[in-house]
Amino acid sequence: MSLLDLARDAHRGVNLQRRMGDASRRSGRIEEANEAYVRALQLIDDILPAFPTLPSNHDAGSVDIDRNIAVEAAELWGERGGILRRLARLDESRTSYARGAGFEEAYNLPTTYNRVNVLKLELMTGQSLSSLSGPIAKVRDALQTRLSTDERAADNAWLWADLGDLRLLLGDVDEALSAYRTFVAKARTDSPVLTLSVLSDVVEALEQNGDPRADLVKSGAAEVEKEMSKVGIAAS
């Protein structure tokens, strides 16, 4: 099997275990959920060593990795970050997302999942919103440019969710709502709940950390929830 085939198999298995874990968690069976997440993590950790790594001071010209491999690597690091976040291993989660973000940047991939989640994990692990406003704005600008110039990227509902998150963190609630509406329209029906759940975790962390802009983000998030509830979506 090629590396890409192995990755495809791994993604499928990870998806199954993650959803099984999410289902268990929704039912309050946290231990079972964590077991499923650990199995998912294991599937990723079994395959990741086969993937090339980026040099620490990477840039687009300094790496020689097939673009398709880079896409899969970014995806695997992102999946890993998501599983670790569910397992509340936030530092490891942030590191994983950062590895995935490295591939996204080096290859100018249309996805921003890792880059946005690095920022969210930074906030969840104690960074203040004001200290990250520069990087958040930078990713937002890159994403807006991408969405307005790349029709295929604009089809991807996740990018609209990312844009909504970034705008919300920057305090631009109306624009965030606009992006979220597009996200909800385009996405699978199960996707918005996941997004709301992460957003809720970010708000909670900002509040716990006493971030001065926590209230602003919280009220924005409440509006998002309100908007989503109009179409039958409620945070879990």
Binding site: H11, R12, G13, N15, L16, R19, M20, D22, A23, R26, S27, E75, D155, N156, A157, W158, A185, K186, A187, R188, T189, D190, S191, V231, G232
Partner: protein, 713 residues
């Protein structure tokens, strides 16, 4: 081969009966064919053979094709490489031409003349007419020689060229002259004997075929699942056109071009692994394009109509072909008829192309029910160009795209018929016949000039059927009170109506296309009619009609329509009614030749319906692809409506679950080798369906998800 002036002697053979007695002379004209006189083989009786000069063995005659009227027989013997043969001259001999021959007369023992007795050089002195079997027969006269019994069947060879100008038949004792069957008569009987060189003479089968040689030699004898089969149907307009203006020549260029490998690749993706229903054989193709993997048949429409055998061959080829290219210039009636047969029988790739100066983008009046055909152009470039002919790239891309679409779109169509004939609904009666006392469907022109004819025809036919005790609705498609699309309602009726009348008058391309569909799909056939006035206008040599002249005449011979005159509707209607009643009496069991040919061809090439697992999985993927977990690209058309998306997602889960259960319980895929394709599919589907079920809050969904997960991990 013996094209040299003296080489012909090697091709001469004695004709022996079953006891080995010499009964006459023959000579080889191809690697498995010899000529002699019919009266020679008649005298030799069963079990005859030929013995070549210098040979000890006798080649048994396997079969023969005879013409008693001109006393000639074409014998088939076992083919052997490097066998000597002699060429038949298409050029009539001149008086004074010197002629030689060699044979086995009974008065000259073969032991003394093992290489045959040579006829002294003689010469042509003209021809004479004899009465033979009540017919006048013209024979060549060779003066200055006599030939004994046993020389019959020997070649009359032009001493200068070494080619055969006749076959010795009679010797007039005392007159010192020999009479020979002229080469012209022989070539008239077997036109494919007319070749530049003896080496080019086709096989016995091709020679005795009444099919034009170009068609017979390019048409595949049997469909080979490991090859790509293509056919090019030329229009009458292109019959004598230079190669540059013909679609077949352009297609040959495409398949010889570097881009042919892209066509091959797309064809392979669409077809590789597909199963032929009858034999169960899976079609397998090499990765790399090899010209010998492609069969290209081509024929001009006039050749296809020249006789019943050619017509049936054309139907078979058109039905079997993976790729069919039709020159639809002027939408000629017979081309439309074959196109209708193709559309009704095959979901392959069909390219319709227009020549005659038309180019893509130019305005073009199209038949109303073919208005959405995507037409290609094969008209040559008017101005000089550098590099490759741009038509090659365009046609190549069109074919490649066709196969790519065929591969990814289960309901791919390039003609508007296939699904309309088949998707009639699930009600038991949906495919049932519409009886004659309910409806008589009339296929005809909608041209204003025909309307008066239509009114008279309908009135007369209604009366004639009433007189036979039938009250029915006689209707063209436009007369049916339905809001349904033409393409749906027309072809449903073309299939289901037992009574169908088709009027050729006016040569409407739509009518001939519909007739092709009808003849292919209905065992009830159609009563075909044509006005004598229109027929004579279209088939007259001097006619200025745009309708091609030859094909209407040939079609008339083949399909035998009832001919009516402008004031003879009552008589016509009585004949039509009689035929309709007769069809009813035979309950659709008529052996309708077009349908029979199409059915026989389909039997060899039809692929099975998609496997239930493939179909369900494809449907599920089209509704909610598993890749959406990552890309989240909307698939529902109105994705803003959450209920529609939920419906799609739920329907996708149900289809995947049904597919997985089939694999689990029917295919027992879980018990297969883990490395097998079936096991892999079972595991992947299980992953996918369980993952989606885990999103649900319904306990029963979660139970199923857990059971599947347990089973596959």
């Amino acid at each position: 081969m013996t094209d040299s002036p003296d080489g012909w002697t090697q091709a001469v053979a004695s004709v022996c009966d079953s006891s080995g007695n010499v009964r006459g002379t023959a000579f080889l004209v191809g690697h498995d064919v010899a000529l002699t006189c019919f009266h020679v083989v008649s005298a030799a009786g069963d079990g005859l053979g030929i013995r070549l000069i210098g040979s000890d063995s006798i080649d048994r005659v396997l079969e023969m094709d005879i013409d008693e009227d001109i006393d000639i027989a074409l014998l088939r013997v076992t083919p052997q490489p490097n066998r000597p043969s002699v060429r038949i001259s298409a050029v009539p001999p001149l008086i004074g031409d010197r002629i030689r021959s060699r044979g086995f007369p009974r008065d000259h023992r073969i032991s003394e003349y093992p290489e045959g007795f040579p006829l002294d050089p003689t010469e042509i002195t003209g021809d004479t007419v004899l009465k033979w079997r009540s017919r006048q027969v013209k024979l060549l006269v060779l003066a200055g020689a006599e030939a004994g019994k046993g020389m019959s069947g020997a070649p009359a060879v032009d001493a200068a060229t070494g080619s055969v100008v006749g076959v010795l038949r009679f010797s007039e004792t005392g007159n010192a002259r020999v009479l020979a069957i002229g080469a012209a008569d022989i070539l008239r009987r077997w036109p494919n004997l007319n070749c530049e060189s003896a080496a080019d003479i086709p096989s016995y089968e091709t020679l005795v075929s009444t099919i034009a040689q170009s068609f017979a030699t390019t048409a595949w004898r049997t469909f080979a699942p490991e090859k790509m089969h293509c056919v090019v149907v030329g229009s009458e307009a292109s019959k004598d056109a230079p190669a540059d203006e013909r679609l077949d020549a352009l297609f040959q260029d495409v398949m010889a071009d570097a881009q042919a490998s892209e066509v091959w690749k797309a064809f392979r993706v669409a077809t590789d692994g597909r199963r032929v229903l009858q034999t169960g054989a899976h079609r397998k193709f090499p990765d790399v394009y090899l010209r010998e993997q492609v069969q290209i048949a081509s024929f001009n429409i006039v050749e296809a109509l020249s006789n019943q055998q050619s017509f049936e061959l054309a139907i078979r080829i058109v039905v079997e072909a993976d790729l069919a290219l039709f020159d639809v210039t002027h939408f000629e009636p017979a081309v439309m008829l074959l196109l209708g047969i193709r559309g009704a029988t095959k979901r392959g790739v069909t390219v319709t192309s227009v020549g005659g100066g038309w180019r893509e983008g130019d305005p073009l009046a199209r038949p109303f029910n073919l208005s959405d055909l995507s037409l290609s152009s094969h008209s040559p470039q008017l101005s000089p160009f550098v590099g490759e002919d741009p038509r090659i790239g365009r046609l190549s891309k069109r074919i490649e795209t066709g196969f790519t679409q065929l591969a990814r779109h289960p309901a791919y169509e390039d003609l508007p018929v296939y699904d309309s004939l088949r998707r009639l609904g699930s009600a038991e009666a949906a495919s049932a016949s519409i009886p004659v006392d309910e409806e008589v469907l009339v296929l005809c022109s909608y041209d204003e000039s025909y309307f008066a004819t239509w009114k008279s025809l309908r009135r007369a036919l209604r009366q004639a059927l009433f007189d036979k005790g039938l009250r029915t609705n006689i209707a063209r498609l436009q007369d049916l009170p339905t809001p349904q699309l033409v393409s749906q309602s027309l072809y449903e009726r073309v299939r289901r109506c037992t009574a169908c009348v088709c009027d050729w008058t006016g040569s409407s391309p739509s009518t001939f296309f519909e007739l092709g569909v009808r003849l292919a799909v209905s065992p009830w056939a159609a009563v075909q009619i044509a006005s004598d006035d229109w027929l004579s206008r279209t088939t007259e040599v001097e006619s200025e009609s745009e309708v091609p002249k030859l094909q209407i005449g040939e079609l008339k011979e083949l399909l035998n329509p009832l001919i009516y005159s402008g004031d003879g509707f009552a008589a016509l209607a009585i004949s039509v009614a009689k035929q309709l009643i007769e069809m009813r009496r035979t309950t659709g069991a008529t052996e309708q030749p077009v349908r029979q040919s199409a059915t026989e061809a389909l039997r060899r090439v039809q692929e099975p319906l998609p496997h239930v697992v493939d179909q369900l999985t494809q449907e599920a993927d089209a509704l909610n692809h598993p890749g959406r977990t990552r890309t989240n690209v909307p698939q529902a058309l109105f994705y803003e409506i959450r209920e529609i998306k939920e419906d799609h997602e739920r329907a996708a889960i149900h289809r995947r679950l049904a597919a997985w259960l089939f694999l689990e319980h029917v295919s027992k895929a879980g018990e297969l080798e883990p490395t097998s394709e079936g096991h892999r599919l079972w595991r992947e589907l299980g992953d996918s369906v369980a993952a989606d079920l885990f999103l649900s809050d319904d306990p029963s969904d979660l139970t199923i998800a857990n059971e599947i997960t347990e089973r596959i991990t």
